[in-house]
Symmetry: D2
Subunit: 136 residues, 4 copies
């Protein structure tokens, strides 16, 4: 999988002259969108199938500050997947290869009525791809 690159924007900095911590949560979403794209299951395909994937939890450990206009590379991997909940881990590095932030997000997969989908039965391809990606 190709890493996702986010360039820190001026509007993402704060008066400490560093990236405001809330933005890393948004970068995780950017990286997650790219990750699903690369796996062949882009957000809009999921939405077209009526699958909604809300965020259940986010966690972020800040290691080093970043600021405009640094380029941050984000590596996404599947931390846990058992068919109902998906946990993704994000490692963010600066251009020196130093880890600036480690994050985790938890997700459910719901149908349009808000009930958990039975992914293994109803979307076996998505189930397989997530299961295999986990093993990498």
């Amino acid at each position: 999988m190709r890493e996702y690159i986010h360039t820190v924007q001026y509007y993402e900095t704060d008066k400490m002259q560093i990236t405001h911590h809330s933005n890393y949560i948004r970068w995780m979403e950017e990286a997650r969108v790219d990750f699903l794209d690369q796996m062949g299951w882009p957000f809009d395909k999921l939405e077209a199938l009526g699958i909604v994937s809300p965020v259940l939890s986010v966690n972020c450990d800040y290691k080093l500050t970043t600021t405009f206009p640094e380029k941050i590379s984000i590596n996404v991997k599947i931390k846990e997947f058992k068919g109902v909940k998906l946990f993704l881990e994000y490692e963010m590095k600066n251009k020196d290869g130093k880890t600036v932030c480690i994050g985790t997000t938890g997700h459910a997969f719901l149908n349009s009525e808000g009930k958990p989908i039975r992914m293994k039965q109803d979307y076996p391809q998505l189930f397989d791809i997530l299961t295999k990606a986990k093993e990498l």
Copy 2:
């Protein structure tokens, strides 16, 4: 009409240590929501009637910088209204009463199919209240 007060948040500042200019556009929305509330036509009432009111234009002239944790008072008034398009003007002041920003937004009123509503015929109460508010 009561002025709307926005407290500048830490996350709204940037590395110049002042409020990032994009946030004033959001404060105009906050003040607009409050303005419609005070007139008895809150956003959710409009949406429940199937009226969509997209932003057609925004304009903002920055006079003085602001920063966390200043309290900014925003005075909204109707600049122009002729039944099809509504132009609102926003004067933002700091605690010393100095004008920090003057903004304008333009709005259309559309039905759920995206066509302009005939406000005078279909929503005479809203038409009247906007016409009268203009005259103040």
Copy 3:
């Protein structure tokens, strides 16, 4: 301590028609600023003393969705404090009193050179107030 109230803004919603999850991280900052204000140690007083308090970690568990224009009440309490690191917990409730989100943030206290301050010796008043607030 008085609860902090945040009104969900239109610009905080996303295409799922609910509050985008990243905004809760910002609300925690708003509530934290208010919490320190109420304790008599506002951010600007800390900054004037040369104390910087970066965010080390954030955690957020989403329980129920919220959306514009709900009013969310946020209760902040000290989860852990031993003089070097401070952990705050945030319970966010909707108008029905249902918990919508539980968050935690971790903070360090650094001097202007980026080194941990010896709070007990150098700022005994702040140390005492945080220690006492913890016991509540």
Copy 4:
């Protein structure tokens, strides 16, 4: 000059299921940063020289809605430059080549004391490059 491409993010959409209008102001900043980079005068070079370039005004006319995950191309050009104030124009297009938004920003060039710089005398290279770029 190469166009700047912005991919609309999920977190930039709102409950109308379109890009929230405030984000276009931020995209103009992204495109402006890229524009100055391409001219050989990146923001950090300006800041290193002690030149501050605050935004004096923004204007935005929304023509067509956009949404996640569209790719928007932004073409920046100099609308007006006479050594003291710089006005930039931004034309944003969707993948069909249709104009979605036209924006303008106004900028001053100040020294670290907040006084206008005499660009022609003090930074003739920057003055020349902006003057020539205007003629394109």
